[in-house]
Amino acid sequence: MAADSCSWFSALAVGVSLLKCFFISAYRSTDFEVHRNWLAITHSLPVSRWYYENTSEWTLDYPPLFAWFEFGLSQVARSFDANMLQVENLNYASPATVLFQRLSVIVTDVVFIYAARECCRCVREPKGSRDILSQPSFVLAVLLLWNFGLLLVDHIHFQYNGFLFGFLLLSVAKHLQSQHLQGALLFAFLLNLKHIYLYVAPAYGVYLLRSYCFTQDNKDGSIRWSSFSLLRLLALGAIVTSVCALSFGPFIAMGQLPQVLSRLFPFKRGLCHAYWAPNIWALYNVLDKTLAVIGVRLKLLKEAELPLASMTGGLVQEFEHSVLPSVTPTVTLVCTLLSILPAAASIWLRPCGARGFLRCLLLCALGSFMFGWHVHEKAILIAILPLSILAVENREDAGIFLILTTTGHYSLFPLLFTPAELPFKVVLMLMFSIFSFTALRKLHSAQGFLLHPLEVIYLLGLVAVAIACEVVFPLSPWQQRLPFLPLLVTSVYCAMGVCYAFLRLYASLLLQREDKPKLL
């Protein structure tokens, strides 16, 4: 094999791009139609109608820059099949349309590939030339490019996350390379492409303010107020406002801002998505259910008084808890902010360079995943992808990474429920897990085991859950009576792992040793 680092990276990138082409004719979710509809809206309607159009139920609910991105795509789409660009053509999916949309995801992933390349350049390589397969940069490249979740969500389920994560990772890489203004610019673009990344905005805000606007620290690491650079703050402010102006400016000028914002933040949805994301609220719901059942058994509660809460009934509506207090959006917001606060405070008080920032970013992502309102299971990727960078450098992070990715990725399984795609999800997951476990163990082999035996048992339990949910359950008589049982079991089991990973990651930030090398 050629030892040149450029060649193995391009081999990995070409390989994964070809792999993605195998999924062209696979199952696709309604997100496919969502994006087709957005193509049609942006192509055939004037800008002033973009956020008012509602022929399809899948209205445009991403920020304006993403709409412009769809507008750009639609110019190419014209030469594939112009019929997909008509707003009235609901659920239009000719072979050319499918090919175009799938290829658009694969091609725009170039941004992600470039970002992964930049991330690999930032990784600390150990001294001495080792086998390529156990070099940290190689392992990181595979963990990012061949990420199971991204393949599943983008190329089978259908979304443009690869393109968006490209911006996120590129911005992280720029911070690791101390090019903070570029990093900020990229993140500003990202926020205007998809607002879900607001979750990690606190980390950016605190980090840039503390480590970029203040140019020096005191000897003991505390903040030196006199080193504040107004110029830097203004530069940052100018970048962020100009990107936002570019994106929202036209809509503010047209007086459509309230309409755009109401599309972007629909609070009419419920606490949990139809399928519960593996977070605190999944555990909370189950606790509530259990207490209700026990209460009824012990005759403490009357069944008739309980609200008819079909929590996993596949309805995206609000529902009431039966025993525990119901959760409102305000409560989730407060919980989220509280969970992020210590992390933000930590990098304000004790900045640990760009890697500390990265850790804080992860905690913001995970904190909002754990406590957020109407979280999608796909949001776990915001934590998994950046954590890959830390995992190849640090043994403890590698352990956390293995737990978080395995549970997080498994929790994506219910996204694909068609029998024809079962081999894909099982095989891809197996492949990614085998690689991440063996490669990370080899990478940190000098420092002992990555996982505690109890953690290993927990992860093996996942196999049992998988077999029970995917094989045994569909054949059992409960299939008719309790159709949502597998979803419930999956999300609760995974929620435990994600919670555990969250806590451990927090501990690693707060208990960070002082002697850690400050880099970049």
Binding site: M1, A2, S7, A11, V14, G15, L18, L19, C21, F22, F23, I24, S25, A26, L99, L133, S134, P419, A420, P423, F424, V427, L428, L430, M431, I434, F435, T438, A439, K442
Partner: protein, 505 residues
């Protein structure tokens, strides 16, 4: 990383490639009244499940042989019968006599695709893995690279998982046979190969090298002593395996004769469709089929085939080493493909399998031929709507085999085994043969890409409706002929010494 994890990742990747192709269309999808190979396989399930075994190969009121009558040996029939039982338990409509004719549904497609994958997982893939781990030289990384390219060979994947056939079973049995012979288990090897022969009669393409290798080995160890003993053991094994497979048909001679008649349809003409062999390519110049009567065509092709096979078989007989065995497998199967009677374009897979065995020793030549063989089936893929998987798998195979096997990095004359040409044509001694070969490779790949694009995009002129299929089959024929000559030359040149082989790894 340990070898086991690399091996399992490669196997899993090849499963994804296979399943990815299988989501696409199959031959004859939604094309009544005859449909295609997919319906043929389903029909065999219907026939074998519902009819008594005596009726399988006969034209009866319940078994219309003109509608995809069974024309493969008994093992294929038994395989269909097993699949039919599974089909019956899932959905009886799939194999209902007469009524299920032309049955198509997404569930049924899923079932059929799964049966192919299961057969591959049980027979073909383990054989490839074991072959690469035990019978290729080099570091474990090199072995895994060879295995990866072997498993990704596009032709087989596209035919089995796209077009729909069970070539993985017969090729897999043959590979088990090769593997066993390579490890020195001659009896097991001949048994595995007999099974392959009983699954598809086309495995006869490989039969002569097997025979010559074993016979040569017997002669070498002494025909009077241990050699004779080996010969007897192998002979008995082959006969016993055959007898076992044909047991239900042996009760009446008419039964067995009917099976043989079905398997060898000599009445069907020298060639059908556009196939990249000598007869079809000659047809553009001379219309042999109208000049010669049917019988003479048969004898002509038989004579040509035997003449073409003879040199490499005699060489193998005198030097029964594994290296010569592998080369003889390629040469013999190519000779059959190029010259024999009633060849299908899919039969090139029989030559592709032994070419895969040479991926480690002669990477550039092997992958060049393998790519050409995939290309030769392009008209078929276009008919089946498999253009996208064809592009994806071909690009993947070409890229990874060149990259992982460093096929273009080390192509010196020595590595390409071009020494013999220097002896043959002393006047080209001054020229850099490796350079020429490399450029020929680039030009041929460019030609294949160009023709693929043309065939997929352009519409043939009205007075030449078969323009692209003919161009494709002629181009592929030239490649095959070149490969055939080249591998014969290699077989007659000095075998690689152990030392130079070690160095090349």
């Amino acid at each position: 990383m340990q070898t086991w994890s690399l091996v399992s990742i490669c196997v899993l990747l090849s499963i994804i490639a296979r399943w990815g192709v299988s989501l696409n269309s199959y031959s004859g999808a939604g094309k009544p009244p005859m449909f295609g190979d997919y319906e043929a396989q389903r029909h065999w399930q219907e026939v074998t499940y519902n009819l008594p075994i005596q009726e399988w190969y006969f034209n009866t009121t319940n078994n219309d042989l003109n509608y995809w009558g069974l024309d493969y040996p008994p093992l294929t029939a038994y395989h269909s019968w097993i699949c039919a039982y599974l089909a019956k338990t899932i959905n009886p409509e799939w194999v209902e006599l007469h009524k299920s004719r032309g049955y198509e549904s997404t569930q049924h497609k899923l079932f059929m695709r799964t049966t192919v994958l299961v057969a591959d997982l049980l027979i073909y893939i383990p054989a490839v893995v074991l072959y690469c781990l035990y019978l290729t030289d080099g570091s474990s990384k090199k072995k895994v690279s060879v295995m990866f390219c072997f498993l990704l060979y596009p032709g087989l994947i596209l035919i089995d998982y796209g077009h729909f056939q069970y070539n993985g079973v017969s090729l897999g049995f043959a590979l088990w046979g090769i593997l066993a012979l390579g490890l020195g288990w001659d009896v097991l090897g001949s048994m595995a190969f007999s099974l392959a022969l009983n699954y598809k009669q086309m495995e006869l393409y490989h039969a002569l090298p097997f025979f010559c290798y074993l016979l040569g080995k017997c002669i070498k160890t002494g025909l009077m002593g241990r050699g004779l003993f080996l010969l007897v053991r192998v002979g008995v094994t082959v006969l016993a395996t055959f007898a076992l497979c044909w047991l239900p048909f042996l009760a009446e001679p008419s039964q067995a004769m009917q099976v043989v008649r079905r398997i060898f349809p000599v009445a069907r003409g020298l060639f059908e469709d556009k196939v990249a062999n000598t007869w079809c390519s000659l047809n553009t110049l001379i219309k042999i089929r109208s000049i010669l009567p049917g019988d003479s065509q048969l004898y002509l092709s038989l004579a040509c085939t035997l003449l073409a096979v003879l040199p490499s078989c005699i060489r193998l007989l005198t030097k029964p080493t594994f290296w010569h065995f592998k080369l003889a497998l390629v040469n013999s199967s190519l000779a059959f493909f190029l010259f024999s009677f009633q060849v299908h374009e899919k039969s090139i897979l029989l030559a592709a399998l032994p070419a895969c065995l040479l991926l480690n020793d002669l990477p550039l030549m092997a992958l060049w031929f393998l790519q050409a063989s995939t290309f030769s089936m392009l008209p078929l893929f276009l008919k089946d709507g498999l253009l996208v998987p064809y592009i994806v798998t071909s690009l993947g195979f070409l890229f990874f085999s060149i990259y992982l096997l460093s096929a273009l990095d080390h192509c010196s004359e020595d590595k390409l085994r071009l020494g013999a040409y220097n002896k043959l044509f002393y006047w080209v001694l001054k020229m850099d043969l490796a350079f020429i070969v490399r450029w020929k490779f680039y030009i041929s790949i460019a030609a294949m890409v160009g023709l693929s694009i043309a065939a997929a995009v352009l519409i043939a002129p009205l007075h030449l409706p078969d323009l692209f299929p003919v161009l494709i089959s002629t181009t592929a024929f030239l490649h095959f002929l070149g490969t055939f000559i080249h591998f014969n030359v290699i077989q007659f040149s000095e075998p690689p010494s152990r030392k130079s082989q070690k160095k090349s790894n």
